[in-house]
Amino acid sequence: MAMSMPPTPTVRRRGRWALVLLVIPFVALLGPGWYAKAEPRLSGIPFFIWYQFLWVFLGVVVTGVVYALNRRGEDEEDRP
């Protein structure tokens, strides 16, 4: 079994630290006490609501950045 280890472990490691960034949306959203307030409003919409909508975009930015940082290592691996 040990002989069939993946041949390119060093390639895969590059950019792996970026995975830590994926924690950010959890921190931002799993403490509703931090954002459960009405003010400041955005054109009448309470902060509690528009803050969470904003995080849909910020979440995409986070996964997008991680994907980009991870990509060089993955292209080697990710042969369909």
């Binding site: 079994m1 069939s4 280890m5 993946p6 041949p7 995975l19 994926l22 924690v23 949306p25 959890f26 959203l29 799993l30 403490g31 509703p32 006490g33 459960a36 307030k37 009405a38 409003r41 054109s43 009448g44 919409i45 309470p46 902060f47 509690f48 609501i49 969470q52 909508f53 995080w55 849909v56 975009f57 979440g59 995409v60 986070v62 996964t63 997008g64 991680v66 994907y67 991870n70 993955e74 691996e77 990710d78 042969r79 369909p80």
Partner: protein, 527 residues
Amino acid sequence: MTTHWDELGIFIGLGGLVTVIGFFAARWRRADLNHLEEWGLAGRTFGTVITWFLLGGDLYTAYTFVAVPGLVYGSGSFGLFALPYTIIVYPLVFLTMPRLWQVARNRGYVTGSDYVRERFDSRLFALCIAITGIVATMPYIALQIFGIKVVLANMGISPEVALIIAFVVLAAFTYVSGLRAPALIALVKDTLIWAVVLVAIIYIPYKLGGFGAIFHRVEQVSAALPKAKAKPDVLQPTLFNGYATIALGSALALFLYPHALTGVFSSASQKVLKRNASFLPAYSFMLGMIGLLGFMAIAAGVKPTKAFGNNGAIADLFQTMFPTWFTGVAFAAIAIGALVPAAVMSIAAANLFSRNVWREFVQPRMSMAREATISKVASLVVKIGALAFILAVPTTDIIYFQTAGGVWMINALPALVIALYVKRLDKWSMVAGWAAGVGLGTYALVKVQFATSLYDFGFGGKVYIGLAAIILNLIVVSLGSVVAALLGGAGRDRIPEAEYHPHRAGDVSLTGTRQAPVTQPAPGTGV
């Protein structure tokens, strides 16, 4: 009850279009549909765009579109937990699903339980996970029918006959075309839903005097209600922990569901999944907007009929606000939106049955063609079962089953995700952890009479039952595995690490022509 003929005409027209597409799908990317990897996974060939439509159509179900605004309408901001839930799920998908996809592809797995079977060399444990999946999926299919039932009733036609017609059509094209049918129909579904939601989110606030006026009105309505029945637009402190735990727990459970894994396994590469982790949140934004329709229903003073309670809020809002022809489009969008997940769910449940029950325990040496046939027939049985369920059981009770489904499903997390990374998991501790988690979850659900998924376990106030269940599950798995290792019997992964990575070029055939390794008698004893 008056019949709305103009709504109905548009509804039937769009229904006919979808039927044609469903049967045509059998000729799309033509392959041998007598092979389970083709019928049930469309040959694992879907690229980024199709996977986006398919998973979007599959995970954001018609029931969600009815229930989320219903929950917001009934209890205010708590219903918006759908937002954090469907945001944080994607970092998890990005992290874990490519690895699961890769091993499934290399080893020819069609279901999550196929992985568990080989990973732990245990057909008993694989059966536990398969049954969890089937039990969690069945009421979910029934709830999709419930989504159709709500709009049919609002159009003033008798739901029973129409439901049976809709389901015969659905069953027929799923049988013929397999996963290709919902994938193609998802294109229509998502286009319709996006159109309806974008129009609704602009047109309805315009008619109600803008978002400021809507929330002002919601706050007035909420202030006038007794405290226990208030519908606040900002979350109250008593629900902070409930909100956070249900969002996290639901996110952990979502991609363990068989229909989610079917969508994952049908994609063509790791890259497709990673890209979709960035593109799928577009649907989360849409779901959030649909949630806001619940506030609009409060502001508009909608009074849904007793038959569907709060879940009738969105249909009533559309009928109050929209011209009739557009209400027809919106209702067709919801109904077609129900067909996509119902088809994928029935395929996923059928694959679990053919692979992990029938082949494992009844007919181990059946041919590929026979396996596909068993799956096709099982998909029919699953749908008939769900239809009988929805016609016989009061709808309110079915929703409880779905609540329970999430609580049970989350207990597959160690088997399907943790097991990808931690090699030294002890098989029997895994079974014990699963049983403990399912047991605790069921106990708490009984305590609240299945009416909610929050329970006060004695610390942190009311929290999501599923999260408590998975914590207990993980404690049992960890302690058990440590004890087993100390006794010299540390668990090990039966699958070589290389199988979690792409094979070297030339080593992998492109479509499902590989011999599925799970068909061979496994080494070791088995359980």
